[in-house]
């Protein structure tokens, strides 16, 4: 004790050096925990992205089988009236099957025939009908048409089904493999970009299912959300920040908004179900109701972001405007709000991005329905991107797995776009006082 008290200079006695070494080991260890934690978070994110991309990228292309289809008039339009409704309802599947039979004349057994027809997508009739509707002069001619392969065939061609596996474990049997090999050597199997995915609505058949319907649904829903939550949010924020007296009422509103921001989203879904659907009788599955629910959900976010943007405008601006005789409202509308607008918009975009990714409350108000048609207005039944992902994730077919992940990629793409917009807005227009 005493000798240390007397000691001069920096760290010379060995006990202290030893102790210091121990302390530095602890220091390094502690630092490592931090690095490890961040690495773990980054690793999880990487794993998530890799697993999504790895399963999803194959959904962006698709296989078709090219067949010489004879558009026989007696099948399509026996009366010859070329009536569009008759043309639309004809049995096109028969034509495709006839072409297949011609290619494989030795397939005779019923079961085998059914398997042979199963190579083609069930959507073949729709595909041919569309061709005929676009060009009725096809009737009576023979054309080479690329018909979508069924989901199992598509999976097989993409290499998800191991041809070495025992036959009983395979969704594609030996016979089908033989047919496909023959088609392949004939050059009848083609692969191409999956345009359907970006242009069509949902379907029970994976090879026909598209994401466009959900995208349009999301668009309408967000439109309603934005139209409701942005003006209301900005007005409320402006009032609370610039006009409201400091009293119990405004305190209550403030606390209330903070708490509302943390209410689980599914509870908003319950509100939508009980009030909008059951009490006001608004239509189920409609973007209108979805947008209203999401608007209530995003309102606190927008109010909080707008208030902090308004708060950042320095009082000197207000004083200057008051100094030239502007009224309270003029000060706010001419000076404060325009200056705070970049911050407000950034908050609104972030709120919209969250609304775009939200699923749970929409399940409550019936936006989980299976909807094939592309919605045309805010009251048409629709689904949205995240719900479509949820629906596909629940489907048992192997080929939906890839489409689910492809949907996720599309959704993440939109989110990235919105966030990039917010960042740009912040970088370019944000002022620091």
């Amino acid at each position: 004790m005493t000798d240390r008290e007397q000691s001069t200079g920096i760290a010379v006695d060995s006990a202290e050096v030893k102790h210091a070494r121990k302390r530095y080991r602890a220091e390094r260890r502690f630092r490592m925990y931090g690095v490890a934690a961040i690495a773990a978070a980054a690793g999880m994110l990487a794993l998530l992205v890799i697993s999504i991309v790895a399963t999803g990228w194959t959904a962006f292309y698709q296989h078709s089988i090219a067949l010489d289809v004879t558009f026989e008039a007696k099948v399509i339009d026996p009366k010859g009236g070329r009536d569009p409704s008759v043309l639309a309802r004809a049995d096109y599947r028969k034509l495709a099957r006839a072409s297949l039979r011609k290619l494989f004349p030795d397939v005779k057994k019923r079961g085998d025939k059914r398997k042979l027809y199963g190579l083609l997508s069930i959507g073949v009739d729709q595909q041919l009908a569309e061709l005929v509707a676009a060009d009725p002069s096809l009737i009576g001619q023979t054309r080479r048409v690329e018909i979508y392969a069924s989901d199992d065939v598509d999976s097989f061609l993409k290499g998800f089904i191991d041809r070495e596996a025992p036959e009983s474990d395979r969704r594609i049997k030996d016979k089908e493999i033989a047919w496909l090999d023959k088609l392949e050597t004939d050059g009848a199997i083609t692969s191409h970009l999956n345009l359907r995915f970006w242009t069509k609505g949902d379907s029970r058949e994976p090879e026909l299912a598209g994401f466009w319907g959900a995208m349009v649904g999301s668009f309408f829903t967000l439109l309603v959300t934005l139209a409701l939550s942005f003006p209301v949010g900005v007005l409320a924020a402006t009032y609370l920040e610039e006009f409201a007296p400091k009293n119990r009422w405004t305190d209550i509103i403030e606390v209330n908004i903070n708490n509302l921001a943390a209410v689980p989203s599914i509870v908003f879904g319950l509100l939508g179900l009980a009030v909008f659907l059951n009490f006001f009788g608004l239509p189920r599955s409609a973007p209108l109701v979805g947008g209203m629910v999401l608007a209530l959900m995003t309102l606190p976010t927008i109010i909080i972001a707008s208030r902090s943007a308004l708060k950042a405008v320095p009082p000197s601006i207000r004083e200057a405007a008051f100094g030239v005789g502007a009224s309270e409202l003029q000060v706010v509308t001419h000076h404060v709000v325009p200056l705070a607008l970049p911050g407000i918009l950034t908050g609104a975009i972030i709120g919209m991005a969250r609304a775009l990714g939200e699923t749970a409350p929409l399940l409550m108000i019936g936006m989980v329905a299976f909807i094939v048609d592309i919605p045309g207005s805010v009251t048409d039944p629709a689904t949205v991107m995240p719900v479509q992902i949820y629906l596909w994730a629940d489907s048992p077919e192997r080929a939906f797995v890839a489409r689910t992940s492809a949907g996720v990629m599309a959704l993440l793409g939109f989110l990235m776009l919105m966030n990039a917009l917010a960042v740009i807005l912040r970088k370019r227009f944000e002022r620091r006082w």
Partner: protein
């Protein structure tokens, strides 16, 4: 800048020797070639107008500037003949020898006891509870706080009055048995009575420690210190016996400052 005629930067028995110390913050130079010795068992006060670099200089002596990003210190500072700006020297070990008391009392949000015990614990200076109790008691006694707090050692240090908090911080600094104590305007946040108590304490502590104090108050410098250095715009204008500086300054800038023309 310095010539031996007007300055006595060097002294016979220095505890800390600073030569050519320059400091810059992200390219902006704050101190220019400071030469200054700190004597053993005496109080050295650093005075000068705000922004003159006296706190910056103080923080060099226990390398607190390491904590600030972009701060570069050059030159030489040696404590008992050991060069402390050397990379080999461990700042952590250095600070145990060169303690510091800050402008605003900053007790940790822990009990009074734990505030004092923190330093000895992390440095492994004590073995066992009894020894620690003893260190806590002697430190508080030396800081003149023991009588006031001995019945409430387990209450939070933040519950004390400002003056008590500052004495707690001094006790905390003493507890690791440093050689040098740096004080950065230790009384600026205190009322006159608390200031008087802290000044008394400083006067007493100089028997065991070498003390460097930065102060804004010239009266305080005159009251507590034996040597005074006057800083201005990043240089040491004049350094000498306190009495000489205040009664017979050699430089007119010093004269101007102590007579209140600027600062």
């Amino acid at each position: 800048m310095l010539d031996s005629e007007t300055n006595s930067a060097t002294i016979a028995d220095p505890k800390v020797v600073c030569r050519d110390v320059s400091v810059s913050y992200s390219g902006k130079q704050a101190l220019f070639d400071i030469d200054l010795d700190i004597g053993s068992h005496q109080v050295t006060s650093l005075i000068g107008p705000s922004g003159c670099g006296k706190s910056t200089f103080l923080r060099c002596m226990n390398r607190m500037n390491d904590v600030i990003d972009g701060c570069v210190v050059t030159g030489s500072i040696s404590v008992d003949g050991v060069e402390i700006l050397d990379d080999e020297i461990d700042a952590v070990q250095l600070r145990r020898r060169v303690g510091m008391v800050f402008q605003k009392p900053n007790p940790f949000p822990k009990s009074i006891y734990d505030n004092i015990a923190y330093g000895p614990r992390i440095h492994g200076l004590v073995r066992g509870k009894d020894e620690l109790d003893e260190v806590v008691q002697t430190s508080l006694e030396r800081a003149g706080l023991w009588e006031e707090v001995k019945d409430r050692l387990l209450q939070p240090g933040t519950g004390l009055s400002g003056g008590q908090q500052q004495r707690l911080c001094i006790a905390r600094a003493i507890a690791v048995r440093p050689d040098v104590i740096l004080m950065d305007e230790p009384c600026s946040a205190l009322d006159p009575i608390a200031t008087a108590r802290v000044e008394e304490l400083i006067d007493e502590l100089k028997r065991s420690y070498s003390i460097v104090i930065v102060t804004h108050s010239m009266q305080q410098a005159a009251r507590v210190s034996q040597r005074t250095a006057f800083f201005h715009l990043g240089i040491v204008v004049e350094v000498g016996e306190t009495e000489q500086i205040f009664t017979n300054p050699r430089d007119e800038r010093t004269q101007g400052y102590i007579t209140g023309r600027y600062g």
